[in-house]
Amino acid sequence: MLATEETTIVSEATVTEKPKREMIAIDDLSLIFPSKDGDVHALSNINLSIKSGDFVSFIGPSGCGKTTLLRVIADLEKATSGNLKVNGTDAQDARLNRLYGYVFQAAALLPWRNIQQNCALPMEISGLSPAQQNKQIDKYLKMVGLQDFHKKFPWQLSGGMQQRASIARALCLNPDLLLMDEPFGALDEITRDHMNIELLRIWSETQKTVVFVTHSIDEAVLLSTHIVVMSPRPGRIVKVIESPLPRLKTLALRDDPAFHALASEIRTALAHEHAID
């Protein structure tokens, strides 16, 4: 009797959300680019904690260091001082263990590879067997809605489709963490709305942690569980806002008063900093 009771408790626990762990921990991190006209404080005293399963957006004007912060997490830039842990290890180990998938603003597909071969690239490098590669490619190309485009070359696809292919490529290694640097910044607004909804769906299906850089307030509100508002000179975090909206949002939510309230809170935080500037 006791044993059955225990199993029911365990199964209940697995039905509810996975226990949250700290995916990214940033402690007093600064990054200074030395230059002839004096040092540029790209990032100044950043403190931030991102939990697994969260969707966190960095928002702010140009030069606020949002992309730089993402690049530091990805180990594409080195911090000058401070501490950074990604999934409990330092950023370099996280990169070497292929813990994250990175999506650039441009799709960055290799023009001489077709979509299937492009998606295979990270798995070729990590040493997955061709059979496993194809399984992953089929799964994720289907998830981003490109199941019929395996043999197409990048130039045969629209900008939105190219970016979807690059998201599928990032998902193929099944990383716990997805780092996205204005992935839809180059797309038109209609395509962008569509991509946002698709991304929300993929995120909820895969239970990944997403860190997302944007300069669109609407996009940040629509996507995020947490919004990190940043400000330039020196690049710093002004405010971290936890979204009161449900995790899975729809486009219709944009007419909801709660949506406007959150957008307005972000706008105020941004404007406030500019006034001080």
Partner: protein
């Protein structure tokens, strides 16, 4: 297509017309001098008729070269030492051998230079200096030195072809291997790719368009190298030997027909590299795009 053919044919006709005119002026003068030396009377009609029929003309007319080409290509068996096909094939052998090894050497040097700063500063001056030396000056030396250690025949000529053809490949590949997109390099970095992965999956492909542009130059240079190697060395066969014997005996038709065969051979070789390039671009899915 029709327009292309039309412009090709009209340019050809213009060249032939200029050629006939030049032949008349040069050979006519020769004829007049001869006649005057013999204190004979002459008329312009006589000169015009005679100018295209001189033995050992200063500049043979196109039809004279054409006759010589037919004689030495079609009328003689391919194995004959007076067949231009026979000589062209000898030159082609050393050209291709030199081209293959020259291209490989060029690629290897470029890979070394791109991956090693010391190699760049130590090797690059030599690479450039090697091309400032007139090939005519070192070709006989290479042949004589190799002959002294009993290396004769196709090898010394191929080495001279190689000497000329590695250079464009090196220069283009250094640029090509460095031409990969910064974003793609960062992408590879996020996959924690090894240097080997970055080379074979990224740099090598970025360099391919540069490689093919340089291979076209290299194969033409290899042909020139092979012909030059045949010139000063008393070679018995090859287009260079044909040119040399033609000039010994004042056989200008022979010289011109050998030149035309060399030019045709060069065009065919460059065209073949172009075809290889198109095949590769199609495989990369870039042909319709580019």
């Amino acid at each position: 297509m029709k327009q292309k053919l039309f412009s090709f044919v009209s340019l050809l006709l213009i060249v032939i017309a200029i050629w006939y005119l030049a032949a008349l002026l040069m050979n006519g003068n020769q004829l007049i001098n001869n006649l005057e030396r013999k204190k004979q009377d002459w008329t312009y009609v006589q000169v015009i008729k005679g100018a295209y029929d001189v033995k050992r003309p200063m500049l043979p007319a196109p039809h004279q070269v054409g006759q010589e080409l037919i004689k030495s290509i079609i009328d003689r068996p391919v194995t004959s030492k007076r067949s231009l096909i026979y000589h062209a094939q000898i030159t082609l052998n050393s050209t291709l051998l030199g081209f293959v090894f020259g291209s490989l050497l060029g690629i290897l040097i470029a890979v070394g230079i791109v991956h090693n700063k010391t190699l760049e500063s130590s090797l690059m001056p030599w690479v450039i200096a090697s091309q400032t030396i007139p090939i005519l000056a070192i070709a006989p030396m290479i042949v004589v030195v190799l002959g002294a250690i009993n290396i004769t025949g196709v090898i010394p000529k191929a080495i001279i072809s190689m000497y000329l053809s590695f250079f464009p490949v090196t220069i283009a590949m250094v640029k090509g291997l460095r031409s990969s997109d910064k974003l793609h390099e960062e992408l590879m970095h996020t996959y924690s790719a090894t240097a080997k992965d970055i080379f074979w999956k990224l740099r090598w492909y970025s360099a391919q368009p540069y490689l093919f542009a340089s291979l076209k130059v290299a194969i033409a240079a290899a042909l020139v190298g092979a012909i030059v190697a045949e010139l000063p060395t008393g070679a018995q066969g090859g287009l260079g030997a044909r040119l040399l014997s033609g000039s010994y005996y004042g056989q200008t038709e022979q010289i011109w027909s050998a030149l035309i065969v060399a030019a045709t051979l060069g065009s065919i070789l460059v065209w073949l590299v172009g075809i290889a390039e198109r095949v590769l671009l199609r495989r990369r899915g870039e042909l319709d795009h580019a």
